[in-house]
């Protein structure tokens, strides 16, 4: 074969073939190159996001050579993008610690704690899930959902090095419950986002919250949720985070949530609790009366705490004395369903309060949130700060409110608020708060 023929074959046949082959192959090469470039970016979330986003954009570039040009453009952009994305993850470095310490000691509940621990251990094995592990503690009012959740959260919180978030959605308090917009505002603030950078709209807050949490290992507790809508937007796409929800109902739309049902205590467990909060000696001295007492309290931890508070406040009372009084208080019919037969315990506790404490307790039901400050209470009590503090001490002693000195707040229980509201309607139907009580839930 002469060199001329070889040259002809090369230029006229093989070269066009190669060029056409290359042109066909180009889009695939471009896609591959773009994916490769996106995978050079920042963290896992950024990598998957830009891989999808860039390929979607690339697919719309017409022609066969142009996509390759675009792909090279993406490749060239990678160093700048990496710099920006690294700055983004350094920009917000706050490690929030919002979990309050549990207000009450935990009695029994070993099975439930083990179930929760099991969820956490199981999650480790299949950590490829892209969503946060969600655990929901369900149970009736006063059964100890929040106490259990806070105790468990305290046990495991050190496994979440980026901190923890806590929001009380107070769905069962008199005012409308906390909307995701407000909760997200608080969370973003806690995550270190400056107030001026907290977006105004819900969508923007959700997407900023999700992108911040996605990079982190956090424990997020949503206390007292009522509806799926309240919590759905607060669930991050973060495989390393855990969300803990307490609710009186099963939140049906949370498909992936693991549910832990919390029942009232068994009689023996209730006795253990009574022993812890009222003192072992007194219980041992009157075992029969103590059993009658926990029955009257329906083995409901909240009611037992209140009954024990009553015994503490009246040291000359025996348990039998208290049980007799509770029997007398029990009136058939007309009881609010939520309160059930623990109402007698509430009634007795309330009736033995001094008048100014009774009045303040009733009026607490007009507050926008179950968490309140002393100055809010002073407005309701219509008295000085010192007097208010004395009255609040009395209420705390009766276990009708819980003092949280660590954040200068007081807290009461939704069930007790419902009770207080009823008392207010009956005893002070015309009462209106004299001054608007500023909410402390706003951020």
């Amino acid at each position: 074969m002469s060199p001329v023929v070889v040259a002809f074959v090369l230029t006229a046949v093989l070269l066009p073939l190669a060029v056409s082959e290359f042109r066909d192959w180009c889009p695939r090469l471009a896609t591959g190159l773009t994916r490769w470039a996106a995978r050079r970016l920042g963290d896992r979330q950024a990598r998957t996001r830009y891989e999808e986003e860039w390929v979607a954009n690339l697919n719309e570039v017409p022609g066969k050579l142009s996509p390759l040009v675009s792909a090279v453009g993406y490749l060239v952009a990678v160093p700048r993008m990496r710099w920006t994305l690294r700055r983004a993850s350094e920009a917000v470095t706050a490690k929030p610690r919002q979990l309050p310490p549990p207000a009450c000691p935990l009695t029994a509940r070993g099975g439930e704690l083990a179930a929760l621990d099991g969820l956490l251990a199981h999650r480790r094995k299949k950590s490829r899930d892209a969503v946060a592990l969600t655990a929901a503690i369900n149970g009736m009012a006063g059964v100890g959902k929040t106490t259990l959740a806070l105790h468990w959260a305290q046990r495991i919180k050190d496994r979440f090095p980026d901190g923890n978030l806590y929001a009380d959605l107070h769905s069962y308090s008199p005012r409308p419950s906390l909307a995701p917009l407000e909760v997200l505002g608080g969370f973003l603030h806690a995550l270190g986002v400056q107030a001026v950078h907290v977006p105004a709209s819900l969508n923007e807050r959700v997407s900023l919250y999700r992108s911040l949490v996605a990079r982190r290992r956090m424990l997020i507790m949503l206390d007292n949720a009522a509806t799926s809508d309240q919590v759905r937007l607060l669930l991050p796409d973060s495989p390393h985070s855990v969300v803990l929800i307490t609710s009186r109902h099963r939140l049906s739309a949370l498909d992936n949530a693991h549910v832990v049902d919390l029942d009232t205590l068994s009689v023996d467990e209730a006795m253990t609790l009574l022993r812890e909060v009222a003192g072992g000696e007194q219980v041992d001295a009157e075992p029969q009366a103590a059993r009658a007492l926990v029955h009257l309290c329906a083995c409901l931890p909240l009611a037992i705490h209140i009954a024990a508070g009553q015994l503490r406040r009246c040291p000359h009372w025996t348990i039998s004395h208290l049980v007799d009084k509770l029997h007398n208080e029990q009136r058939p019919g007309g009881l609010a369903r939520d309160l059930g037969n623990v109402r007698a315990a509430f009634d007795l506790s309330y009736q033995t309060l001094p008048a100014d404490a009774q009045r303040l307790f009733r009026r607490l039901s007009t507050l926008p949130s179950p968490n309140f400050e002393q100055r809010q209470a002073a407005l309701l009590a219509e008295t000085t700060a010192e007097e208010t503090e004395k009255i609040l001490d009395i209420l705390a002693n009766a276990q009708l409110i819980i003092a949280r000195p660590e954040d200068d707040l007081y807290r009461t229980h939704d069930l007790l608020l419902a009770y207080a509201r009823e008392l207010l309607r009956k005893e002070e139907p015309s009462y209106q708060p004299t001054a608007p009580c500023p909410s402390n839930s706003e951020t």
């Binding site: 996001r49 830009y50 999808e52 986003e53 860039w54 390929v55 979607a56 954009n57 697919n59 719309e60 570039v61 040009v69 675009s70 090279v72 453009g73 993406y74 490749l75 060239v76 952009a77 700048r80 993008m81 920006t84 994305l85 700055r87 983004a88 920009a91 001026v196 950078h197 977006p199 105004a200 709209s201 969508n203 923007e204 997407s207 900023l208």
Partner: protein, 113 residues
């Protein structure tokens, strides 16, 4: 408006498109609208997103569609204020130096695909 990043001409162009009425802006569309390569638009968008001026969301219009989704960009409230301030500031300096004015911020035929 506090300036948290260097505002290049390309950044101004991107902000201008984002100020338009088009609600489905994604990287390529923005790049086409301002006549710059996507490779220089994405770093700008990432930067704007990092400082909170821009919000991005996956497209959700067609759940049956397969394949990669586009990601839409829009200004946050802060970004809206910032973009307006930056653009008017730059425009007045351009006017002073006798350069050509940027076109008005209302929808332009070019960016409605």
């Amino acid at each position: 408006v506090e300036r948290k990043f260097r505002v290049t001409d390309a950044t101004l162009d991107v902000l201008e498109v984002l100020l338009g009425l088009d609600e489905e802006l994604y990287g390529l569309k923005i790049a086409k609208a301002i006549g710059r390569p996507t490779g220089s638009v994405f770093p700008i968008l990432a930067r704007l997103e990092q400082v909170g001026w821009v919000i991005s969301e996956w497209e959700t219009s067609d759940p049956t569609a397969r394949g990669p989704r586009r990601r839409f960009y829009r200004l946050s409230l802060e970004g809206l204020a910032g973009a307006r301030a930056v653009l008017s500031e730059r425009r007045s300096t351009r006017r002073l130096t006798g350069q050509q004015l940027l076109p008005e911020l209302l929808p332009r035929p070019g960016n409605a695909s």
